[in-house]
Amino acid sequence: MTRKKRRLMVLLLAGLGLGTATALTLTAFQDNLVFFLSPSDVIAQRPTGDRAIRLGGLVETGSVERRTGADGRPAATFRISDGPNAISVTYAGVLPDLFREGQGVVTLGRLLPDGSFRATEVLARHDETYMPPEVADALRRSGHWNPSQGAAPPAETWNTAPRNGRSGG
């Protein structure tokens, strides 16, 4: 029994040490572990030089302007917002299918001297809500949710809503 207890103590101590070391390491590398910076981070840190950074946030409602660039490729200008701050982004290329106003996006690019951002890559984030189209339509029609204004209302208000007897997709 004592040998088992000793082995248990050794395991617990080793686990405690390993856990502490991991927690300290992760805290120390916090800045390197984030995938993207929010507009507030970018404005506060003003990343200088030619280093490419990732800027992420929600596409601000009413800010998207799509046009055709000089070379005939599609281009877009929009603002990425995290609430208190927003940064204007220009991007030449095809936007992902999920891109829309109110959608989360992560862009890779460089901050220009005038404070705007030139993106070379735009990735769409999707949020953690999953709902059938009928339920999303019903929420929109009833005025409970406008997807271009931001996140869906609290899940308990819709996640058991009937789908009007339709079955299957």
Binding site: F35, L123, N159
Partner: protein, 266 residues
Amino acid sequence: MDHPPALTTGTTPHRPAGPRTLHRFANPGRFLRATARVMPFLWGASILVLGVGLAWGLWFSPPDWQQGETVRIMYVHVPMAWLAMGGYTGLAVLSVMSLIWRHPLADLTARELSPVGAAATALCLVTGSLWGKPMWGTWWVWDARLTSVLVLFFLWLGHAALVRAFDDAERGARAGAILALVGIVNVPIVKFSVDWWNTLHQPASVTRLDAPGMHVDILYPLLTCALGFTLLFGTVVLARTRAAVMERRVRALQFARARREDAVPA
């Protein structure tokens, strides 16, 4: 020829086992007899629940308002992710049993578990990549969630390789158990990476403090698929462990016969 295997006979190996302890199943004969009875039911339940879950998810559940039909990848991706993490937690529990109580069946189960866990993690990564391309616009990014799951995959592979890398099976099991316990720090990192750091991967939908961010018509087939895949995972691991016990028995019998023939030359 390698060392005589530890699990050889149908009698209690090296200590009297109380009827209520797990050591009861350290007796391989009793383990084989007890599991033989439940195996057909486990296979039946796995196939039934998984069949219902997959049919429900892939055909009879609604698409997502935003992702369309692509959302159906979730019915495989999410159960595989849960099994990758849950299975690894199981591996850590087996490793504790192995290191503290020297439970021989824990060693054997851990050895048979890791290739199955590696397969589940690989499926999670592959389905995630196939889902990421149409939705995010990329097959892969080095964000905290994706990277930590890749590390989990390497831990599974590392364990599977390490326990097989020793001539002495017991030393292999000991090394593997230590690796598995060191790797357990990665499981909370996988789980909470989406909350601790911002990632391209979205946060959890089902295991949230408030209501699941998922309509019940999508949630219920997902939970059914998860139960079905979990049953199948457990059944496959149990079947592999039974096979390993029987393999050892065969080897022990061959070993014993070889020794008899050595002793009495024909």
